[in-house]
Symmetry: D2
Subunit: 156 residues, 4 copies
């Protein structure tokens, strides 16, 4: 098996495929249905692979641009700040590496059970169940789903 | 005040602005933040108005196309079918009119408290709390949020 | 109509029956079913009225006892503390009065639409949607439902 | 290690401790906090063990009594019926055995990670995520949490 492409040798808190991560409550069969709902096809998958190859050395830049959007909006910026509004360099670096790696995983990983589980893990890390725990930080306790959905307009 | 543009004189179960609809749990101020998260600007609003004017006499066609996608996928098609898999013409017609009207409301209505409340109302009507009740039908009990989100790829 | 019994002339943030409160997503008919699920009868209602009459001048003492349990547990105590772990006297007083009033409302109010709506309002005030907003305080952002349910063992 | 006490040699769909079950999103440490919120002590645990020993040969009778309450209420009865309101003997038998076993597990199992995971698994089996799938039946698609909570008045 090929080694997955990663943005760094060691990415703190990046537990893809490990036993520590959550288990998705939806099955692979339900995931197939979800792809159909989005009319996601093998062709889309093909182009994601192509995009992944191209983006592989631009992940830092991309995340940088997205974070500019986040930094410009107080209600988003606080999601990664300390309670007093100060920046948290360590948290930013760790989550930033994972954010970069998310680009590669989204484009290049096989969409299998491990992938599905990690989507659940990442989701939980945006909620009060697991937010801040991976990096042992004090920051905003949750990122409301509505903002995650809305931010897709920026990512897209 | 101008009368809102509607796709029919009477749209069954269309309770926009009435006291029957749910009350959004989020405030207008939080809604403003949500727009910012999506980098939604006055320019976007302007173009939505323009789109609304153009789409106003194509709503039936648009909904028809979307419903072709839905009909082609068993797990989506059942959302509007009877439990035995038969079509329900009355339900389709009523919800179809509201689906058409949703296009106009999305493009043309002021994004105020009434608008916000009706988003909540429509959301509840896709969940086990209110699905099927507006039209007093027997059909799939819920449409999982993940499919609603995924279907945006078709609507977009 | 009789005036409802209250623990104080003015209870800050106590919006029972006002247009500001949430609207329950469940109907009165569904509420009836809920009573049946709990085998809640008119006899139970009768004894709640009796209890309410007795408890009416003990609400402060009761809330005081419950708060001792809360104070003794760090993960519960922080629900009403400032982020740095300090007490917030103003918040405690305001929410304390509402906590007392909750006893009376639970025992003595008619279980009608206003009652149902206020259950929803109180629920939202324990979640990230409305926690801390009523009193404009900085404190724990949510009280997880599992702890609310567990705490019933203390209230009971 | 002692073999856990079970109500039958083979209990269909009873996956306690297996890799098939969900993984609880809360940690053992958070579970400890939950016990504290309910003021659940080692003494309570002791008496649960005692109760488990006593109830071990009464599980069928107990479940029978609870099911009488369920059967008497249409909105609860339908949770285990076919869509047309007919009984489903096979489903009732399978879920009945698991219901009995739940009594033993609640009283007698160690409250460890496996226990915690199985609480999550059972919870999911009451929601639209997993309801009906274990037994491959057609029945009510979900049991709303409010009714699960309310029914505790019967179980208690």
């Amino acid at each position: 098996m090929e080694r997955p492409r990663t943005v760094a040798d060691k990415i703190p808190g990046y537990d893809y495929g490990s036993a520590n991560v959550a288990k998705s409550p939806i099955t692979l069969q339900e995931f197939e249905q979800l792809k159909h709902s989005a009319t996601f096809t093998e062709e889309d998958e093909h182009w994601l692979r192509v995009a992944g190859d191209i983006l592989a050395d631009q992940t830092e830049e991309l995340v940088g641009k997205w974070r500019e959007v986040i930094a410009a909006q107080k209600h988003l910026a606080r999601c990664s700040q300390k309670p007093d509004g100060e920046k948290d360099a360590r948290y930013s670096e760790r989550s930033g590496l994972r954010f970069q790696q998310w680009i590669l995983d989204t484009c290049l990983r096989p969409y299998d059970q491990d992938w599905l589980n990690y989507q659940q893990e990442m989701a939980l890390r945006h909620t009060s169940v697991k937010k801040n725990k991976t990096d042992n930080v004090r920051s905003a306790p949750t990122i409301h789903l509505r903002h995650v959905i809305a931010f897709n307009a920026v990512l897209g």
